[in-house]
Symmetry: C2
Subunit: 411 residues, 2 copies
Amino acid sequence: MSAGAEVNSERLWESLMAMAEVGRTPAGGVRRLALSDEDRLGRDLFVRWLREAGCTVRVDDLGNIYGRREGTDPRAAPVVFGSHLDTVPTGGRFDGVLGVLGALEAVRALNDAKIRTGNPLEVVSWTNEEGARFAPAMLASGVVCGRFTLEEAYAIRDPDGRTFGDELRRIGYCGESANRLRAASVYLELHIEQGPVLERLGAQIGIVGGVEGISWGWVEVTGRAAHAGPTPIVDRRDALVAAARIILAMRTLALEHEGLRATVGRLEIAPNTINVIAGSVRLTTDFRAQRTEVLETALRKLAEVCASVARDDAVEVSASEFWRSPPTPFDPAVIDAVAAAAASHGYTTHRLWAGAGHDAKYIADLYPAGMIFVPCRGGLSHNEAEWASKEDCARGAAVLLEAVERLAGPA
Amino acid sequence: MSAGAEVNSERLWESLMAMAEVGRTPAGGVRRLALSDEDRLGRDLFVRWLREAGCTVRVDDLGNIYGRREGTDPRAAPVVFGSHLDTVPTGGRFDGVLGVLGALEAVRALNDAKIRTGNPLEVVSWTNEEGARFAPAMLASGVVCGRFTLEEAYAIRDPDGRTFGDELRRIGYCGESANRLRAASVYLELHIEQGPVLERLGAQIGIVGGVEGISWGWVEVTGRAAHAGPTPIVDRRDALVAAARIILAMRTLALEHEGLRATVGRLEIAPNTINVIAGSVRLTTDFRAQRTEVLETALRKLAEVCASVARDDAVEVSASEFWRSPPTPFDPAVIDAVAAAAASHGYTTHRLWAGAGHDAKYIADLYPAGMIFVPCRGGLSHNEAEWASKEDCARGAAVLLEAVERLAGPA
């Protein structure tokens, strides 16, 4: 089907490496925080490339950038594809950027082959996907999809107290609300996996079935602070010992339930002193699964664990969920288009779900959506050592190009 | 033997409660940090009471206060007894104070009964025992015993940057180095237990065999930080899971080794974020035991635990000891004097070792030393709710008085 259009692997790689110079860190990573000066320079470069590729560029009131390539059907909604250009403070060269520049490369390849599509195409770069400077993550796609209001977004402050709204205006990327995404026939996003599964299985392309549901919570353990010297072991109500049991029980829970991941990533310990038995510990719980029932089971089992630890260790334990993001299955037709595109190239594939959030999760509320994953070395991301090979990047862009052609239809 | 001299329980209690007004907190605790304005007021009160009890007061170049009551033998070294008046930031009314005012009460009781002793007596209050404002703890007794130099002590800064030396001069308690303790026939210290053992056993007096040895160390766990979403459980190198195993193994170690206490009180986790698998954890280890061999065994077993966790959890683990305080057995003759004094009053007793540091530990390097413990409610100390009953305080002072009479000998 894409007999004519072919991704130029070298050109894609050169663009990725050129963008990686914007905010490059001494260790070879990238620091391009949302709405920073580096973000502005990256946007300027991207907009120039879009225009050079013949796209009409518009910017909305959240700073989202859209580059439009007209199709032959003037009434058809666009096929939209892209990702984000912002990074975490010590980020890598591929997370987000590959989806944006892979989409740009698809347009360039169509231009090279002089191929027109039925539906128009829109390459998009979403503002502040990482949420590293302005929490929460996926803020701009969230506003576009009605999860947050514009006023909420503008009022969010970075750690230095500067607001999203002020910084958006400062870097010159506050456009019109009329420019927001208002219609799409489908949305497609290419991304590095950010996990080790594809690499371990030797799969070249990940066909993403959806974005997993996430449950975030706190477990609060209250014991009794006491001097580590004169307090016999049997008299202790050690909140940290109880917390350790919960951390291990979380791991066991995940190992015993197919498709469940469970993580304790953060502890707050009081008083957190070498010679005082911990009086209280607050720990975070992060559960992820493809099905809501699995999350519910995990929360129920966690409550059982907490009750048992409270009994055995003479402490008080309470668990509470403070945020839930339901599982988001992607559109079967989009998934099929990705699978067919990968098959036509003869790439080895693996079907998996995204464990992390992506803009595609919010967009899937409004439009049929899907994602394509490529392997990244060691599953590493949000890290200066993040790495995807030139070949893997090109394979991802090739699948993106062909899936978009399939979904946009011929002229 | 003390037929004549008897502790006045009411007077002791009134003195304790009067001293508790100096730096009293709204919650009924005491904040009398070393060399603070509150410490100065407490010292002024104590010095007045010493003089009213007929003592000659001297202050040394560390602010240690000595109140001397002459004996009949002019060449004999004094029997020295006391403790400290400083508290932690939210301390109680008994920790330290009971030993100082219990000693004062013993002198008052001897005065009431017009009893002279053979050796002179010296009531002492040591500066900065807690180390809460100027670390380390037991600083002034440590200088007197040659553990630290005067210059080192003077240069130590509090969290606001003020030095020990400047603050000592500011409150007017920087005396002459010639006034330091230069000779003692014995040293005796009355203190609340700071643990729950006496209360649980129903023992009225703790006969202290010595101060336990302490080993402090770090265990460093290095795993791999990774996104909690896309990283399957089996691919993780979770430093916090490994740390949890070590925390529980420390508890097991203590339960399996008679006389050993083991505590993990502090964790430093990176990045300590809800959705990132911990990349590294640094945790403290605190071991206490009466015998050096038990400490050595504990450290050897900890190394085995670390090796096993490193293997099972695919992390790197290293344990290192950074501070050791050897066990300090008290003098048998002093212990016997305490036991005989308690027996002559018919008090129930229990023999135990001190798990926390006390000035008596340093003084024991130079002179025969011992301690007397009384129960405190729930084993609680370093806490505004710290509590010892009027009767327990009086029993402690009575044992102190009689032991001092036995050790100082008759006129």
